[in-house]
Symmetry: C2
Subunit: 490 residues, 2 copies
C-alpha cells in the first residue's frame, strides 16, 4: 500500500523531464516566471518550453507542440488560458505525460457554470493515466528533484523533514521565505488550488507514507471528502505530527473561500472537534503555523509544560507569567533546596529568584544566567527552560561606551558564552532550552541590530536551540507541542 502510494506520486515529484506549456518570454507572465524559476533553482532533468510561436525562450529551444519533442516528457506545467487547457491535456495524454500541474485559473473558483463545467472536463483526464495538480495553483516544490513553485526560484535546495500541502499558492510562496532563515526544510511543498484530482486526502496519505517526511503541515480551505480526510488522520494518529490551518471557519472567511478555491469551508464546530480527536495541532494564522512547525523541528520530545523562565526586567517576568498561565503552561516555584542554592549565589536585592527569575539588570552577564539554567536543569519539577535575552539592543550601549561605534555589533555580543552555557546545561540535564530574543528596534538607522539578531539566531539554531522573537510566540508554540504529546498519551 505504502509503495503504491509513493509510486503514484512519482511523476509529480520526481519527473526526469518536463514541459512548460504556455512558456513565454514576457517576464510578467506566469509562463515566463515558472520557466525561469525551474531553471534557476536547477531542475535536474530536461526542460522543454512549449508555445505556439516556437523560437527560443530563456536560451532554450521552444517547441510549437508537445508532439514536436522527440524525447519523453514525464511532467507538464500548464500556464495557458482556461479554455485551452482541455485540448492541451489531450495532447499530454497522447504524449504519455504522467503528471501535470495546472497553474491556470478560471475554473470552479469563478463560481460560474462555465468554470464548473471546464473543471469537470479536465478532472476526467485524471482517470486516464495521469495525475493532475490544480488548477488554480502554484505547483510543486521538491528540493530533491529541483522542482519549484511559481515565485520560488530562490527556495532552498536542501531537503528536509517537513511536508506541506496548501490550497493557497501565495501561502506556499510565503512559507518558503519564512522557512529559509529558520532552518525549516521541506521534503515536498504542494500548492494544489482547486484540487480537481490530487487534493488533501491523497497528499495526506502520501506524506504519511513518505519516509522523507517527518512533520506534516497544511493550509486548508475546504476538503473534497471530510469524513475520509478525518479518517486518514485518525488512522495515522501519533505516527507523524500534523499541523493544520483550517481557514474560512468564520462567516466572512467562508465567503472568501468560495471565491478563492471554490470550496465549501464547513462548520467550525465539526472541524474543531474532528481535528482534535485526530490529534491534529490546529493553528489559525501564518505566524502560528510557522512557529508550530519550528517547535516540532527543534524541541526534544520531553519538552514539557513546567517552565523555568529566566531573564532580566520584571515586566517581562510578569507578562510572561500571564502568557504561560493562559496557555496552560506552569511556572512552578523552584524546589526548596534548589532555591536555597540560588539564593546563596545571588545578592538578595534586585533579584527575584523564585521562578520566573528576574535578574533585574539590563546587562546580565551570561555567567549569571548560567547559574539559573543549571538550577532549573537540576530541579525535577522543571521540564523546559525559557531564557529571555532582554534588552537585546543594549549591545549598542556596550559598543558605544567602549567608544567603538564603527565596529560590528557581533564583537560585543554576549552570545558565545551564553550558547556555551546552553550546550553544557543541555548536555548535562537533557532538558529543552528555548531562547527568546526580543528584537523590538524599529529604527531604520539601526538595521545592524537586525543583522546581529539573525546571526545569533543562526548560531543557536545550528546548535539545535530554537529562537523566538517574543515570549508570547515561544509560549504558544511550546503549548502546541505539549498539547500534542499529551493527546497522544490520553
Amino acid at each position: 500500500m505504502t509503495m503504491e502510494i509513493l509510486k503514484a506520486f512519482e511523476p509529480l515529484f520526481y519527473p526526469k523531464s518536463l514541459a512548460v506549456i504556455g512558456a513565454s518570454s514576457d517576464v510578467t507572465k506566469f509562463g515566463n516566471i515558472i520557466l525561469n524559476a525551474l531553471m534557476e533553482i536547477g531542475f535536474e532533468g530536461k526542460i522543454y518550453p512549449v508555445n505556439t510561436e516556437g523560437g527560443e525562450i530563456n536560451g532554450l529551444k521552444a517547441y510549437r507542440s508537445l508532439q514536436d519533442i522527440t524525447g519523453e516528457v514525464d511532467f507538464a506545467v500548464l500556464t495557458i488560458p482556461a479554455p485551452a487547457v482541455k485540448d492541451s491535456l489531450e495532447e499530454c495524454r497522447r504524449k504519455q505525460v504522467k503528471g501535470v500541474e495546472i497553474l491556470t485559473s478560471g475554473f470552479k473558483e469563478t463560481g460560474t457554470p462555465e468554470g464548473w463545467h471546464l473543471e469537470q472536463q479536465i478532472a476526467g483526464f485524471a482517470r486516464r493515466g495521469m495525475r493532475i495538480l490544480g488548477p488554480n495553483c502554484f505547483g510543486v516544490y521538491c528540493p530533491e528533484s529541483g522542482l519549484t513553485i511559481l515565485p520560488g526560484q530562490n527556495f532552498s535546495r536542501q531537503t528536509g523533514p517537513v511536508g506541506f500541502l496548501s490550497q493557497s499558492g501565495g501561502l506556499c510562496a510565503d512559507l518558503g521565505q519564512m522557512a529559509k532563515g529558520l532552518g525549516i526544510r521541506f521534503s515536498k511543498m504542494v500548492s494544489y488550488g482547486n484540487g480537481c484530482d490530487v487534493a488533501a486526502c491523497d497528499l495526506l496519505e502520501y506524506f504519511f507514507a513518505d519516509p522523507k517526511t517527518r512533520i506534516i503541515a497544511g493550509y486548508l480551505e475546504g476538503v473534497e471528502d471530510g469524513p475520509r480526510f478525518l479518517k486518514i488522520l485518525r488512522e495515522n494518529k501519533g505516527k507523524k505530527p500534523v499541523i493544520l490551518w483550517k481557514a474560512g471557519l468564520t462567516e466572512t472567511g467562508s465567503r472568501a473561500v468560495m471565491s478563492h478555491t471554490g470550496s465549501l469551508s464547513g462548520a467550525a464546530g465539526v472541524w474543531n472537534s474532528g481535528l482534535k480527536q485526530a490529534g491534529v495541532v490546529q493553528v489559525g494564522t501564518a505566524e502560528e503555523l510557522i512557529d508550530s512547525i519550528y517547535a516540532f523541528l527543534y524541541l526534544p520530545p520531553n519538552a514539557g509544560p513546567r517552565v523555568a523562565l529566566m531573564g532580566g526586567g520584571g515586566a517581562i517576568g510578569v507578562a510572561a507569567s500571564d502568557s504561560l498561565d493562559r496557555l496552560k503552561l506552569s511556572v512552578p516555584v523552584f524546589s526548596p533546596p534548589i532555591l536555597e542554592k540560588l539564593k546563596a549565589s545571588f545578592p538578595p536585592v534586585g533579584n527575584s529568584l523564585k521562578n520566573p527569575v528576574d535578574l533585574g539588570n539590563p546587562m546580565i552577564p551570561p555567567s549569571m544566567l548560567r547559574k539559573v539554567m543549571e538550577a532549573a536543569g537540576e530541579d525535577e519539577g522543571i521540564d523546559t527552560l525559557i531564557v529571555i535575552q532582554i534588552l537585546f539592543y543594549i549591545l549598542y550601549q556596550v559598543r558605544h561606551r567602549l567608544g567603538m561605534d564603527d565596529k560590528p555589533l557581533s564583537q560585543f555580543s554576549f552570545q558565545p558564552e551564553l550558547l556555551e552555557a546552553c550546550r553544557e546545561v543541555q548536555e548535562r540535564y537533557r532538558k529543552a532550552i528555548i531562547l527568546v530574543m526580543p528584537d523590538i528596534v524599529t529604527d531604520g538607522k539601526m538595521i545592524d541590530l537586525e543583522i546581529e539578531w539573525r546571526r545569533e539566531r543562526d548560531n543557536y539554531q545550528a546548535a539545535g536551540f530554537p529562537v523566538f522573537k517574543s515570549l508570547d510566540r515561544a509560549a504558544r508554540a511550546l503549548s502546541q507541542f505539549v498539547i500534542y504529546h499529551q493527546q497522544l498519551q490520553a
Copy 2:
C-alpha cells in the same frame, strides 16, 4: 486645579539642574549608566555628579555631598544602596531639592519586613515638600527638557503626544526603542516602580491635565487606590484615549507581580469590567500596546468597522476575512453599482472583486490597486481601506530578472506610485487607509529587504498612513480603535 497639577509635577519633568547621587565611573553601574544617558541625550540644565569619592566622572567635577554644590539643585537621581537612601533624602530636603527619582531597589518588592519598613521611611519625605518617583524604577523620560530613563540615552529628543506611565522600567526601555521607527513620540514617559509617592493615579491626573499629552498609555501591575484610579478614568472618559496593559491578571502573573513591584494585582473580573466602563482600551501584550498607540496616532476619527480588503493572493484574503470576522469588523460586499464598475475594469478570470478583493497576481501593478481603492473610496458602505502588499519579497525577483542584483531594492519598488494613489484616494474620499506589508523574509543574507521595508514604511508614515507587518496586527489595532469610539457614543 489643572494648573496646580501641572505645577506639582514641574520639578520632576522640567528641572533646571540635577544631581546624580551615587554617580560612578564604573560603566557597569547604574550610577554611571544614568549619568551618561542624561549627558548623551543632552539634558539642558546643569548636571552635578555626587559620590563619596569626589574627583571627576565623565569629565564632570564630582561632589562629595549635595551641600558642596553652590548652585540650586531642583532634581536628584538616587542610585545608592537602599539602606543609604533615607539619609540621602534628608540631605535633599536640606538642599531644597523638589523632585527625586530613586532607581535603587531593595524596598517593598523584596517582600521582607525590612524592605517594607525602608519604603515607609522614604515615603514620609514626600509629604515634606518633595515629589518622589520610585523606588525600584528607571525614572523619567521627558524629551522636552532632556531627561531620560536608565538605558535611554538614544531615545528621540522630539516631543510628541503620547504620555506613558509604567510600573516596569524594562518596558519603558523597550517602548522607547519600539516607538522610534514608528514615528511615535512622547510628551513624558514615567517608570515609577513601587510608586511610594507618585503613582498611577497622580500620573493619570497629570496626563489628563497636560496640554502636551493627547494619548495616554500605561503598564500597570497593581494600583495604590483602585476606586480612585477608576474614578479618574471615568470622569475623564472621552477626553483623551487611554490604552492600558493591566498585567498580573492570571494566577502565575499575580505571583510575579508581587515580587516585581510588591503590588497586589487584583481580580481579573473587577479590572476588566471597571476598565471597560471607563472607556479604556485594554491590551495584553507589548505588541498590542504599541500597535494600539500607533493606531490612535495615525487613524482619522472616522476609521470605522466596515473594511474593504485588497491585495493579491487568496489565502491572505481568506485568512484576513477570518481575522476581521473574529474581531467584529466586517468585510461587506461592494454595492452593486461599484461592483459593476470594478468588473468592467478587470478581466473576469483570476480576480475576485467582491471584497475581499484578490487580484491573484504576485506582482500587482499599483495602477490596478488604485482602481480598487477608488471603488472602495466611493462605496458608502465602506469606512476603512486595508491595502495588503503581498509577497513584498517579489522585489528580489523583479531586480534579478532585470539583471541588476547589485542595485538597491529601492530602485525597483512599486511604492512611489502606490503612495501617490493612497494620497489621492484619501484626499478625495477622506477615508482611513491602512497599509499591510508582510515582511516574512527570515534569511540572514536577505537583510536588504528589511532595509527597504523600513524605508517604505517611513515614507508611508511621513504621509500619514500607518503600516503594519501583518493583517492580524492591523485588524486588532483597528478593532481597538473602533471599539473605543463606539463606546464613547454608547
